[in-house]
């Protein structure tokens, strides 16, 4: 069965391979960056507000902290209860240019033993889960230490 790839959430990321980017918005009045995207009004209380423009976020950042999930998270996280639980790492990444910290799952195979605070990581496309019934591959962003091959 061939699966159709669909983003698990609309408008938060775009592109494939090296062209993959998280998408945020930037206030054209004060330059504040928002991720997840803020499309209604700038949330900087010191700003009168201006149009919000979509921007790609930096591809690379440094680890602020990390952890993992040794127990199966409850719904609405989707996982197959028939399969044994495979822990995954979760990374909080500081993007220097945007001065923002963004959480994301680590790429498959990356464990907490591979990570340190301050380490450089890059954003890569990943799979959140596959839905057999609808033949859909739901895509998401992952963080992966730089210099590590997919």
């Amino acid at each position: 069965m061939s699966y159709t790839r669909k983003p698990a959430i609309t408008g938060w990321f775009t592109g494939e391979g090296d062209g993959f980017r998280l998408l945020g918005t930037r206030c054209t009045a004060c330059a504040s960056v928002f991720f997840p995207r803020e499309d209604v009004h700038c949330r900087n209380p010191h700003c009168a507000g201006g149009p919000l423009k979509e921007i790609p976020l930096s591809r690379k950042g440094r680890i602020w902290s990390y952890t993992d999930s040794r127990y199966r998270p409850p719904s609405p996280y989707v996982s197959d209860p028939e399969l044994p639980w495979e822990p995954y790492a979760l990374i909080a990444v500081e993007l220097e240019a945007e001065r923002i910290v963004v959480l994301g799952q680590a790429a498959p195979g990356v464990t907490v033993a591979d990570l340190t605070v301050g380490m450089e990581v890059e954003v890569v496309p990943g799979v959140l889960h596959e839905d057999e019934d609808t033949g859909t591959t739901w895509t998401i962003w992952h963080w992966r230490p730089t210099g590590v091959a997919a």
Binding site: T67, P74, V102
Partner: protein, 396 residues
């Protein structure tokens, strides 16, 4: 004009996993608080309930639910929801009514029967809800955030797993002494280390459980307390329910990212520090005045963070303060004399009220074997999902 209100009564239902409805726990706590105050339910002119949320809305609008269970008597009713800060907002609402002269005596109640395992959001596809999104897109449970904070402390301040375990050892030893606590058994550092990792680096015994429980307070004007024959009541001197300031630069539950600091400098104090700061400023006191503190130890590592956010020590010195014994019984500033969430577990709408119950007993000098000698000033600190501050200063 004094901003004090009197705590005439405090009551709890023992916490645990009792398998009964939250109304029963809240009503029992309310009756205990009324008895402690020496007042009849019919004397209460206003009731404030901290809401118990089921299915994404306050399934039982708490104020009226408790008023009905106690027997409809025509009191004014208020219900508040602020996640873990619900209890503090209920106290704030009651205090405002008393200080405005709208009510002399107000009953504050919070109770919950928590689900087993991880807390999780209500069902349905709701991508406009940040709490739903963090589970759906990342599987980020509450312990995942506690793990991030703990690992960050280890990297930045040099905290160790042994430091974290010591918090549990201290709080468990205090829980043994509290008849309302769910866990009343000493825990050793070895037992913490031997428990399963939940979210690296935190283990099962580093993280608080979910519980059933209830807590209630009877608050009144100081004049009413005097007329009622209580010459020196415990007084609530400050209630802080502040929101964060933009940009909030520490990843916070349930958010997927922080605010960006590109356009505005981060505030001088983090959100957690600003919660305590607002309470100190309103009360006109500082950390050096405290006799006792009840802080929100969702995880062992988070208790150390609160030491710093309350100004009990400098940034990065929380573990040192703990190791010196300053926050243990007999120390300079005992923390979580109740046993904390480590001994109680979470019963969300009740826990900020339960913290004030413990301060009340400590300041009255009736806390039994866990009494802090000569306690005069106490503070609670807590934080509600979605940016709710929660801190109460009580004095005697």
């Amino acid at each position: 004009m004094t901003k004090d209100v009197a705590v005439l009564g405090a009551g709890m239902h023992p916490w645990g996993k009792w398998g009964r409805g939250f109304v029963e726990y809240g009503t029992a706590a309310a009756r205990a608080a009324l008895m402690d105050a020496g007042l009849d339910w019919r004397d209460v002119r206003s009731v404030v309930g901290a809401d118990t949320v089921r299915g994404g809305y306050p399934g039982h609008v708490a104020g009226a639910t408790f008023a009905k269970a106690l027997g409809w008597q025509g009191a004014t009713v208020t219900s508040v929801y602020a996640a873990c800060a619900s209890g503090a907002q209920a106290v704030a609402a009651a205090r405002a009514q008393i200080l405005a002269g709208l009510a002399d005596v107000v009953l504050v109640v919070g109770a919950d029967a928590a689900p087993k395992g991880f807390f999780r959001p209500a069902g349905g596809d709701r991508p406009d809800d940040p709490d739903w999104l963090r589970f759906r897109l990342l599987g980020a449970t509450n312990p995942a955030y506690f793990g991030l904070y703990a690992r960050r402390r280890m990297a930045v301040h040099g905290d160790t797993l042994e430091d974290f375990a010591l918090v549990k050892v201290k709080n468990a030893a205090l829980g043994v002494l509290n008849p309302y606590a769910r866990y009343r058994k000493r825990v050793t550092a070895e037992e913490v280390a031997a428990s399963a990792v939940v979210a690296d680096p935190l283990r099962l015994l580093d993280i608080c459980a979910t519980s059933d429980g209830g807590a209630a307070l009877v608050l009144s004007s100081v004049d009413f307390a005097h007329r009622h024959g209580v010459a020196r009541p415990v007084r609530i001197r400050a209630v802080s329910t502040v929101t964060p300031r933009f940009p909030n630069t520490v990843p916070d539950l349930p958010d997927i990212a922080t605010d960006s600091a590109v356009a505005a400098a981060p505030p001088a104090r983090t959100f957690r520090a600003s919660i305590a700061g607002a309470a100190y400023e309103e009360a006109g006191i500082g950390p050096e005045d405290l006799s006792v503190a009840e802080v929100y130890d969702l995880s062992t590592a988070l208790e150390l963070q609160w030491y710093e956010d309350l100004g009990l020590c400098g940034e990065g010195e929380g573990a040192k303060l703990l190791r010196e014994g300053a926050t243990a019984p007999g120390g300079r500033i005992p923390v979580n004399t109740s046993g904390g969430l480590a001994s109680f577990g979470e019963a969300v709408p009740a826990q900020a009220i339960a913290q004030v119950c413990e301060l009340t007993w400590q300041l009255r000098g009736v806390a039994g074997d866990r009494q802090v000698a000569g306690a005069r000033v106490g503070i609670t600190a807590n934080q509600g999902l979605f940016g709710h501050g929660s801190s109460v200063v009580a004095v005697r």
